[in-house]
Amino acid sequence: MAARIVKEFTKGLWKEIAPFRFVLGLCSVLAVTTDVKNGLGLGCAVIFVTTMSNVLVSALRKIIPDKVRIAVFIVIIATGVVIVELTMQAYFYSLFLVLGIWIPLIVVNCLVLGRAEAFARKEGVMLSLADGVGMGLGFTISLVVVATIREILGKGTWFGLPVMWEGYPGFEFMIRPVGAFVCLGLLLGIMNVISARGRRKRK
Protein backbone atom coordinates (compact mmCIF):
# COMPACT_ATOMS: atom_id res chain seq x y z
CA MET A 1 0.00 0.00 0.00
CA ALA A 2 2.73 2.44 1.02
CA ALA A 3 4.65 1.65 -2.15
CA ARG A 4 1.57 2.32 -4.24
CA ILE A 5 1.00 5.68 -2.54
CA VAL A 6 4.58 6.68 -3.31
CA LYS A 7 4.12 5.54 -6.91
CA GLU A 8 0.91 7.54 -7.41
CA PHE A 9 2.57 10.57 -5.85
CA THR A 10 5.75 10.51 -7.92
CA LYS A 11 4.10 9.80 -11.28
CA GLY A 12 2.75 13.36 -11.26
CA LEU A 13 6.25 14.76 -10.95
CA TRP A 14 7.85 13.34 -14.06
CA LYS A 15 6.14 10.45 -15.83
CA GLU A 16 2.77 12.16 -16.17
CA ILE A 17 3.72 15.77 -15.41
CA ALA A 18 0.72 17.84 -16.33
CA PRO A 19 1.02 20.37 -19.11
CA PHE A 20 4.12 18.74 -20.62
CA ARG A 21 2.92 15.15 -21.03
CA PHE A 22 -0.77 15.83 -21.50
CA VAL A 23 -1.86 19.12 -22.90
CA LEU A 24 -4.09 19.91 -19.95
CA GLY A 25 -4.46 23.26 -18.25
CA LEU A 26 -2.45 24.99 -20.92
CA CYS A 27 -4.09 28.39 -20.72
CA SER A 28 -2.95 29.26 -17.22
CA VAL A 29 0.56 27.96 -17.91
CA LEU A 30 0.84 30.40 -20.79
CA ALA A 31 -0.79 33.32 -19.06
CA VAL A 32 0.65 33.62 -15.56
CA THR A 33 4.26 32.67 -16.21
CA THR A 34 5.60 36.16 -16.87
CA ASP A 35 7.31 35.96 -13.49
CA VAL A 36 8.09 33.22 -11.02
CA LYS A 37 6.11 34.69 -8.14
CA ASN A 38 2.84 34.56 -10.06
CA GLY A 39 3.56 31.07 -11.33
CA LEU A 40 4.24 29.81 -7.82
CA GLY A 41 1.14 31.55 -6.45
CA LEU A 42 -1.16 29.98 -9.01
CA GLY A 43 0.61 26.64 -8.57
CA CYS A 44 -0.14 26.61 -4.83
CA ALA A 45 -3.78 27.40 -5.52
CA VAL A 46 -3.95 24.50 -7.99
CA ILE A 47 -2.32 22.09 -5.50
CA PHE A 48 -4.99 22.95 -2.97
CA VAL A 49 -7.86 22.57 -5.44
CA THR A 50 -6.69 19.27 -6.97
CA THR A 51 -6.03 17.78 -3.54
CA MET A 52 -9.37 18.88 -2.13
CA SER A 53 -11.38 17.78 -5.13
CA ASN A 54 -9.59 14.43 -5.34
CA VAL A 55 -10.16 13.64 -1.67
CA LEU A 56 -13.82 14.66 -1.71
CA VAL A 57 -14.61 12.92 -4.98
CA SER A 58 -12.96 9.76 -3.79
CA ALA A 59 -14.70 9.85 -0.40
CA LEU A 60 -18.08 10.36 -2.07
CA ARG A 61 -17.47 8.05 -5.03
CA LYS A 62 -19.93 5.39 -3.86
CA ILE A 63 -22.85 7.79 -3.44
CA ILE A 64 -22.40 10.03 -6.50
CA PRO A 65 -24.80 8.78 -9.19
CA ASP A 66 -22.91 7.95 -12.35
CA LYS A 67 -25.11 9.99 -14.69
CA VAL A 68 -24.67 13.36 -13.01
CA ARG A 69 -21.10 12.82 -11.85
CA ILE A 70 -19.59 15.58 -13.99
CA ALA A 71 -21.96 18.16 -12.52
CA VAL A 72 -21.16 16.95 -8.99
CA PHE A 73 -17.42 17.12 -9.67
CA ILE A 74 -17.78 20.65 -11.00
CA VAL A 75 -19.63 21.78 -7.88
CA ILE A 76 -16.92 20.25 -5.66
CA ILE A 77 -14.15 21.91 -7.69
CA ALA A 78 -15.93 25.26 -7.77
CA THR A 79 -16.28 25.15 -3.98
CA GLY A 80 -12.53 24.64 -3.66
CA VAL A 81 -11.86 27.50 -6.03
CA VAL A 82 -14.12 29.85 -4.09
CA ILE A 83 -12.24 28.97 -0.88
CA VAL A 84 -8.93 29.78 -2.58
CA GLU A 85 -10.31 32.99 -4.07
CA LEU A 86 -11.58 34.34 -0.76
CA THR A 87 -8.44 33.29 1.14
CA MET A 88 -6.19 34.99 -1.39
CA GLN A 89 -8.30 38.12 -1.35
CA ALA A 90 -7.98 38.29 2.43
CA TYR A 91 -4.32 37.42 2.95
CA PHE A 92 -2.46 37.82 -0.37
CA TYR A 93 -4.21 40.80 -1.87
CA SER A 94 -1.43 41.92 -4.23
CA LEU A 95 -1.12 38.42 -5.67
CA PHE A 96 -4.90 38.28 -5.97
CA LEU A 97 -4.87 41.46 -8.06
CA VAL A 98 -2.12 40.23 -10.37
CA LEU A 99 -3.61 36.78 -10.96
CA GLY A 100 -7.06 38.31 -11.37
CA ILE A 101 -9.29 36.27 -13.62
CA TRP A 102 -6.96 33.26 -13.51
CA ILE A 103 -8.02 32.24 -10.01
CA PRO A 104 -11.71 31.65 -10.86
CA LEU A 105 -10.49 30.06 -14.08
CA ILE A 106 -8.96 27.16 -12.11
CA VAL A 107 -12.52 25.85 -12.16
CA VAL A 108 -12.22 25.10 -15.87
CA ASN A 109 -8.64 23.88 -15.67
CA CYS A 110 -8.96 20.50 -17.36
CA LEU A 111 -6.27 19.05 -15.10
CA VAL A 112 -8.48 19.19 -12.01
CA LEU A 113 -11.56 17.69 -13.65
CA GLY A 114 -9.38 15.20 -15.48
CA ARG A 115 -7.93 13.82 -12.22
CA ALA A 116 -11.38 13.55 -10.64
CA GLU A 117 -12.75 11.70 -13.66
CA ALA A 118 -9.75 9.50 -14.44
CA PHE A 119 -8.46 8.70 -10.97
CA ALA A 120 -10.32 9.80 -7.84
CA ARG A 121 -13.64 8.35 -8.93
CA LYS A 122 -12.18 4.84 -8.97
CA GLU A 123 -9.56 4.82 -6.19
CA GLY A 124 -9.45 5.10 -2.40
CA VAL A 125 -9.02 8.30 -0.41
CA MET A 126 -5.34 7.88 0.47
CA LEU A 127 -4.33 7.09 -3.10
CA SER A 128 -6.38 10.01 -4.41
CA LEU A 129 -4.75 12.30 -1.91
CA ALA A 130 -1.30 11.20 -3.10
CA ASP A 131 -2.36 11.60 -6.71
CA GLY A 132 -3.84 15.05 -6.11
CA VAL A 133 -0.80 16.40 -4.29
CA GLY A 134 1.58 14.87 -6.84
CA MET A 135 -0.27 16.17 -9.85
CA GLY A 136 -0.66 19.62 -8.32
CA LEU A 137 3.01 19.70 -7.42
CA GLY A 138 3.99 18.60 -10.93
CA PHE A 139 1.85 21.37 -12.37
CA THR A 140 3.50 23.90 -10.04
CA ILE A 141 6.97 22.68 -11.07
CA SER A 142 6.08 23.17 -14.74
CA LEU A 143 4.75 26.65 -14.03
CA VAL A 144 7.93 27.58 -12.18
CA VAL A 145 10.17 26.16 -14.92
CA VAL A 146 8.42 28.09 -17.69
CA ALA A 147 8.28 31.22 -15.52
CA THR A 148 11.98 30.96 -14.66
CA ILE A 149 12.99 30.88 -18.32
CA ARG A 150 10.65 33.70 -19.24
CA GLU A 151 11.47 35.95 -16.31
CA ILE A 152 15.26 35.54 -16.55
CA LEU A 153 15.38 36.09 -20.30
CA GLY A 154 12.61 38.66 -20.40
CA LYS A 155 13.41 40.85 -17.43
CA GLY A 156 16.82 39.63 -16.23
CA THR A 157 15.44 38.85 -12.80
CA TRP A 158 14.41 35.74 -10.87
CA PHE A 159 11.80 36.11 -8.14
CA GLY A 160 12.27 39.85 -8.53
CA LEU A 161 16.03 39.62 -7.81
CA PRO A 162 18.43 40.66 -10.58
CA VAL A 163 20.42 37.69 -11.87
CA MET A 164 21.78 38.92 -15.19
CA TRP A 165 24.65 41.36 -15.55
CA GLU A 166 24.20 45.08 -14.93
CA GLY A 167 22.30 46.87 -17.68
CA TYR A 168 20.78 43.69 -19.15
CA PRO A 169 18.30 45.13 -21.64
CA GLY A 170 15.63 42.44 -21.27
CA PHE A 171 14.44 40.28 -24.13
CA GLU A 172 10.91 41.59 -24.32
CA PHE A 173 9.81 38.87 -26.69
CA MET A 174 9.78 36.39 -23.81
CA ILE A 175 7.36 38.25 -21.56
CA ARG A 176 5.02 38.95 -24.43
CA PRO A 177 2.26 36.39 -25.13
CA VAL A 178 4.21 35.25 -28.19
CA GLY A 179 7.17 34.20 -26.07
CA ALA A 180 4.92 32.00 -23.95
CA PHE A 181 3.85 29.90 -26.92
CA VAL A 182 7.33 29.56 -28.36
CA CYS A 183 8.93 28.85 -24.98
CA LEU A 184 6.42 26.12 -24.12
CA GLY A 185 6.70 24.61 -27.60
CA LEU A 186 10.47 24.36 -27.34
CA LEU A 187 10.27 22.94 -23.80
CA LEU A 188 7.91 20.22 -25.03
CA GLY A 189 10.41 19.46 -27.77
CA ILE A 190 13.22 19.14 -25.23
CA MET A 191 11.04 16.83 -23.10
CA ASN A 192 10.53 14.65 -26.18
CA VAL A 193 14.28 14.38 -26.73
CA ILE A 194 14.92 13.40 -23.10
CA SER A 195 12.16 10.77 -23.13
CA ALA A 196 13.37 9.34 -26.43
CA ARG A 197 16.91 9.05 -25.10
CA GLY A 198 15.67 7.33 -21.91
CA ARG A 199 13.72 4.81 -23.97
CA ARG A 200 16.74 4.01 -26.12
CA LYS A 201 18.91 3.45 -23.06
CA ARG A 202 16.42 1.00 -21.57
CA LYS A 203 16.58 -1.08 -24.75
Partner: protein
Protein backbone atom coordinates in the same frame (compact mmCIF):
# COMPACT_ATOMS: atom_id res chain seq x y z
CA UNK B 1 -21.62 53.49 -32.23
CA UNK B 2 -17.91 54.18 -32.39
CA UNK B 3 -17.50 52.57 -28.98
CA UNK B 4 -19.00 49.35 -30.21
CA UNK B 5 -16.80 49.33 -33.29
CA UNK B 6 -13.77 49.81 -31.05
CA UNK B 7 -14.90 46.95 -28.85
CA UNK B 8 -15.27 44.66 -31.87
CA UNK B 9 -11.89 45.51 -33.39
CA UNK B 10 -10.19 45.23 -30.03
CA UNK B 11 -11.74 41.87 -29.17
CA UNK B 12 -11.07 40.29 -32.56
CA UNK B 13 -7.66 41.62 -33.50
CA UNK B 14 -5.85 43.46 -30.76
CA UNK B 15 -6.72 41.47 -27.68
CA UNK B 16 -7.43 38.26 -29.52
CA UNK B 17 -8.91 35.97 -26.90
CA UNK B 18 -6.75 33.04 -27.94
CA UNK B 19 -3.39 34.42 -28.90
CA UNK B 20 -3.08 37.42 -26.62
CA UNK B 21 -5.35 36.69 -23.66
CA UNK B 22 -4.71 32.91 -23.61
CA UNK B 23 -8.27 31.79 -23.06
CA UNK B 24 -9.48 28.57 -24.65
CA UNK B 25 -6.13 27.10 -25.57
CA UNK B 26 -6.98 23.45 -24.87
CA UNK B 27 -9.47 23.07 -27.74
CA UNK B 28 -7.22 25.34 -29.79
CA UNK B 29 -4.49 22.71 -29.73
CA UNK B 30 -6.88 19.77 -29.64
CA UNK B 31 -9.19 20.36 -32.60
CA UNK B 32 -6.97 22.41 -34.89
CA UNK B 33 -5.47 19.32 -36.52
CA UNK B 34 -8.16 19.20 -39.19
CA UNK B 35 -10.18 21.88 -40.92
CA UNK B 36 -13.55 20.16 -40.60
CA UNK B 37 -13.36 19.80 -36.84
CA UNK B 38 -12.11 23.37 -36.52
CA UNK B 39 -15.18 24.61 -38.40
CA UNK B 40 -17.52 22.52 -36.24
CA UNK B 41 -15.91 23.75 -33.05
CA UNK B 42 -16.11 27.37 -34.25
CA UNK B 43 -19.84 27.22 -34.82
CA UNK B 44 -20.47 25.52 -31.48
CA UNK B 45 -18.33 28.07 -29.63
CA UNK B 46 -20.06 31.06 -31.23
CA UNK B 47 -23.44 29.70 -30.26
CA UNK B 48 -22.68 28.71 -26.67
CA UNK B 49 -20.46 31.71 -25.92
CA UNK B 50 -23.13 34.27 -26.77
CA UNK B 51 -25.89 32.39 -24.97
CA UNK B 52 -23.84 31.61 -21.85
CA UNK B 53 -22.42 35.07 -21.34
CA UNK B 54 -25.82 36.71 -21.70
CA UNK B 55 -27.47 34.34 -19.22
CA UNK B 56 -24.60 34.83 -16.78
CA UNK B 57 -24.82 38.60 -17.19
CA UNK B 58 -28.55 38.60 -16.44
CA UNK B 59 -28.12 36.31 -13.43
CA UNK B 60 -25.32 38.46 -12.05
CA UNK B 61 -27.33 41.66 -12.32
CA UNK B 62 -30.71 40.36 -11.22
CA UNK B 63 -29.81 37.77 -8.59
CA UNK B 64 -26.22 37.86 -7.35
CA UNK B 65 -25.81 41.65 -7.13
CA UNK B 66 -29.27 42.19 -5.67
CA UNK B 67 -28.90 39.67 -2.88
CA UNK B 68 -25.22 40.37 -2.18
CA UNK B 69 -24.08 36.92 -3.30
CA UNK B 70 -21.15 38.02 -5.49
CA UNK B 71 -18.89 35.41 -3.89
CA UNK B 72 -20.97 32.67 -5.50
CA UNK B 73 -20.16 33.98 -8.99
CA UNK B 74 -17.71 31.21 -9.87
CA UNK B 75 -20.05 28.46 -8.74
CA UNK B 76 -23.14 29.88 -10.43
CA UNK B 77 -21.44 30.67 -13.75
CA UNK B 78 -19.89 27.27 -14.17
CA UNK B 79 -23.18 25.56 -13.34
CA UNK B 80 -25.01 27.76 -15.85
CA UNK B 81 -22.49 26.87 -18.54
CA UNK B 82 -22.56 23.14 -17.77
CA UNK B 83 -26.35 23.05 -17.70
CA UNK B 84 -26.65 25.18 -20.82
CA UNK B 85 -24.34 22.95 -22.81
CA UNK B 86 -26.33 19.91 -21.78
CA UNK B 87 -29.61 21.66 -22.64
CA UNK B 88 -28.41 22.83 -26.02
CA UNK B 89 -27.30 19.30 -26.78
CA UNK B 90 -30.71 17.83 -25.93
CA UNK B 91 -32.68 20.50 -27.80
CA UNK B 92 -30.48 20.33 -30.86
CA UNK B 93 -30.80 16.55 -30.97
CA UNK B 94 -34.59 16.86 -31.06
CA UNK B 95 -35.06 19.95 -33.22
CA UNK B 96 -32.18 19.91 -35.66
CA UNK B 97 -30.67 16.44 -36.05
CA UNK B 98 -28.37 17.35 -38.97
CA UNK B 99 -26.90 20.24 -36.99
CA UNK B 100 -26.55 17.94 -34.00
CA UNK B 101 -24.65 15.40 -36.06
CA UNK B 102 -22.27 18.11 -37.22
CA UNK B 103 -21.70 19.83 -33.85
CA UNK B 104 -22.65 17.11 -31.36
CA UNK B 105 -19.20 15.87 -30.44
CA UNK B 106 -17.89 19.38 -29.83
CA UNK B 107 -20.55 20.41 -27.36
CA UNK B 108 -19.36 18.43 -24.30
CA UNK B 109 -15.84 19.76 -24.90
CA UNK B 110 -17.12 23.29 -24.53
CA UNK B 111 -17.93 22.94 -20.83
CA UNK B 112 -14.22 22.93 -20.05
CA UNK B 113 -13.38 25.59 -22.62
CA UNK B 114 -12.11 28.32 -20.37
CA UNK B 115 -12.98 30.93 -22.94
CA UNK B 116 -16.74 30.63 -22.30
CA UNK B 117 -16.27 31.02 -18.57
CA UNK B 118 -13.61 33.68 -19.06
CA UNK B 119 -15.80 35.86 -21.27
CA UNK B 120 -18.68 35.57 -18.80
CA UNK B 121 -16.42 36.74 -15.97
CA UNK B 122 -14.76 39.47 -18.06
CA UNK B 123 -18.17 40.91 -18.95
CA UNK B 124 -18.84 41.49 -15.26
CA UNK B 125 -15.29 42.59 -14.44
CA UNK B 126 -15.22 45.24 -17.15
CA UNK B 127 -18.70 46.38 -16.10
CA UNK B 128 -20.18 46.11 -19.57
CA UNK B 129 -23.80 46.99 -20.22
CA UNK B 130 -26.09 44.35 -21.70
CA UNK B 131 -25.51 45.53 -25.28
CA UNK B 132 -21.75 45.76 -24.74
CA UNK B 133 -21.73 42.26 -23.26
CA UNK B 134 -23.59 40.95 -26.31
CA UNK B 135 -21.19 42.63 -28.73
CA UNK B 136 -18.18 41.51 -26.70
CA UNK B 137 -19.37 37.89 -26.60
CA UNK B 138 -19.94 37.81 -30.36
CA UNK B 139 -16.63 39.42 -31.21
CA UNK B 140 -14.52 37.30 -28.85
CA UNK B 141 -16.11 34.21 -30.37
CA UNK B 142 -15.33 35.53 -33.86
CA UNK B 143 -11.75 36.20 -32.80
CA UNK B 144 -11.49 32.66 -31.47
CA UNK B 145 -12.95 31.25 -34.68
CA UNK B 146 -10.60 33.24 -36.87
CA UNK B 147 -7.49 32.10 -34.97
CA UNK B 148 -8.68 28.49 -34.82
CA UNK B 149 -9.50 28.27 -38.53
CA UNK B 150 -6.27 29.97 -39.55
CA UNK B 151 -4.22 27.61 -37.39
CA UNK B 152 -6.10 24.57 -38.70
CA UNK B 153 -5.33 25.68 -42.25
CA UNK B 154 -1.64 26.16 -41.47
CA UNK B 155 -1.43 22.81 -39.70
CA UNK B 156 -3.09 20.89 -42.53
CA UNK B 157 -0.73 22.49 -44.98
CA UNK B 158 2.26 21.80 -42.78
CA UNK B 159 1.37 18.12 -42.38
CA UNK B 160 1.29 17.57 -46.11
CA UNK B 161 4.23 19.67 -47.29
CA UNK B 162 6.66 20.65 -44.55
CA UNK B 163 9.31 18.42 -42.98
CA UNK B 164 8.95 19.05 -39.26
CA UNK B 165 11.86 17.82 -37.09
CA UNK B 166 10.84 14.67 -35.28
CA UNK B 167 11.19 16.11 -31.81
CA UNK B 168 8.83 18.99 -32.58
CA UNK B 169 6.08 17.00 -34.27
CA UNK B 170 2.55 17.31 -32.94
CA UNK B 171 1.85 19.69 -30.08
CA UNK B 172 5.24 21.51 -29.90
CA UNK B 173 5.16 22.75 -33.49
CA UNK B 174 1.52 23.67 -33.08
CA UNK B 175 2.39 25.91 -30.13
CA UNK B 176 5.29 27.52 -31.97
CA UNK B 177 3.05 28.19 -34.97
CA UNK B 178 0.49 29.76 -32.66
CA UNK B 179 3.27 31.93 -31.26
CA UNK B 180 4.19 33.14 -34.72
CA UNK B 181 0.54 33.93 -35.39
CA UNK B 182 0.47 35.85 -32.14
CA UNK B 183 3.42 37.87 -33.37
CA UNK B 184 1.47 39.07 -36.39
CA UNK B 185 -1.42 40.00 -34.16
CA UNK B 186 0.93 41.85 -31.82
CA UNK B 187 1.77 44.06 -34.81
CA UNK B 188 -1.71 45.52 -34.53
CA UNK B 189 -1.11 46.65 -30.96
CA UNK B 190 -1.75 50.32 -30.52
CA UNK B 191 -4.61 50.50 -33.03
CA UNK B 192 -7.05 50.63 -30.13
CA UNK B 193 -7.11 49.71 -26.49
Amino acid sequence: MEDYLMLVVSAIFINNILLIRFLGNCPFVGVSSSMSSALGMSAAVLFVNVLASLICWILQKTVLDVFGLEYLQTLVFILVIAALVQLVEIIMQKVAPPLYRALGIFLPLITTNCMIFGVAVLNIKEEYTFMQALVYAISTALGFNMALILLAGIRERMDSTARVPKLLQGVPICLITAGMMGLTFAGLLGLAK
